[in-house]
Amino acid sequence: MDIVLNVAGTVRRGRAIDARSLDLGLDPQDIVESLRDTEDDRLRSPDPGPVHDHVGVIQEGMSISLHAAVAAAARSVDAETPYDAEIERLTEERAAIEIESVSMAEARSELADVTEDVQRLREEVARIGGAVETRRSMDADPTTAEARLEEVAAELAEAETRRIAAEQRYERLQQRAAVQRDRRDRRMELGDRLENRRRAARSYLVEHHYPSFRQAIEAIPGRARPGDRPSAFDGDAVTAALAIARMAEVEAPLVIAVDRFSGAEQVADLLESPVMLLDG
């Protein structure tokens, strides 16, 4: 797929695009967004991959997680690990877990309301009952109060029925939610095991491919002592990133916003990748 930059009437295409003096008002973030957004027509290219998460934009002052970047670069050249079959199995198993969302807020709200009603009505029954007693003891006519008491007692009975129904509904939902939580826990457990295997796979990849990184960095202008592992790397992040780009295989362009190079073709050849140069 051809890589085409099309901004404000300016068109550039190919694997080595120099957008530095075009004055298009583009910054690296714009390019990254355009790469990720298939509907953004400013830049048409293949989709960026995992390597782009690490070295998609190379600029001064950047930071890089070298261990993860080496692993991503290794994967980009189809490196495999003994953990891959299990990673695939765990991924499938995890994706197959179906979780249902059990909506309980309404049931809780209803339960709270009806419990409050019952409480209020009980108090009112007690109050009116007391009033009836008082009237009788004073030989006054309790009829009106008695009638009111009967009304409120009926309301209370109805509210208590509603509350029992609300409690039962709540119980049933709770049981369904508990079943879903079992599934969520299972999914979480698989996620933990999956991350564990992925971490082991990354370490395996780094162990077997750090030599490629050491080889790649020899071709990069800049001072760096790679050491025998990522934690022993001594040098600047830009140099490391450039070496990662060189050792990896990418299809979408890398944004290079550093001042070390004279032309886009030079960089594309050095990194063996499609590039777009921007001002640093």
Binding site: I99, S101, V102, L111, T115, E167, Y170, E171, Q174, A177, Q180, R181, R184, D185, R187, M188, G191, D192, E195
Partner: protein, 117 residues
């Protein structure tokens, strides 16, 4: 206020909350946290639940009062069995010799329902 995580992101969120609001979190044990029962604790819990739905479980805990909530026979069973002479006697045997509740019927009887306060 007990907050239980049922997903990795929620578990991470509990760690973050403990870091950012240490006064709001009384204890955290991995994926389970005890929030202080303040409005702010509720605010944090409700936000978590709004964002992560069923992956967040929120419970109200109360100290357990066995004299209020547990039948006397069960309390007696626990203390008498603990004080038994022969450490090798299984509870089932111990209970049948002493008219104490058997394990099966205890399992069948709830102390309280999940909706009661």
């Amino acid at each position: 206020m007990l907050v239980i995580a049922h997903s990795r992101p929620v578990r991470q969120a509990l760690r973050n909350i403990e870091d950012i609001h240490p006064d709001a979190v009384r204890r955290r044990y991995g994926r389970v946290a005890l929030f202080e029962p303040t409005e702010f604790g509720a605010f944090l819990a409700l936000r978590l639940r709004a964002e992560h739905d069923g992956d967040v479980q929120v419970c109200r805990t109360v100290p357990f009062n066995e004299f209020r909530d547990v039948p006397e026979s069960v309390r007696r069973a626990a203390s008498e069995y603990t004080d038994r002479e022969d450490p090798h006697t299984p509870y089932r045997t111990f209970a049948s010799n002493r008219d104490l509740p058997d394990p099966e019927s205890m399992q069948d009887r709830d102390l309280w329902t999940s909706s009661s306060t």
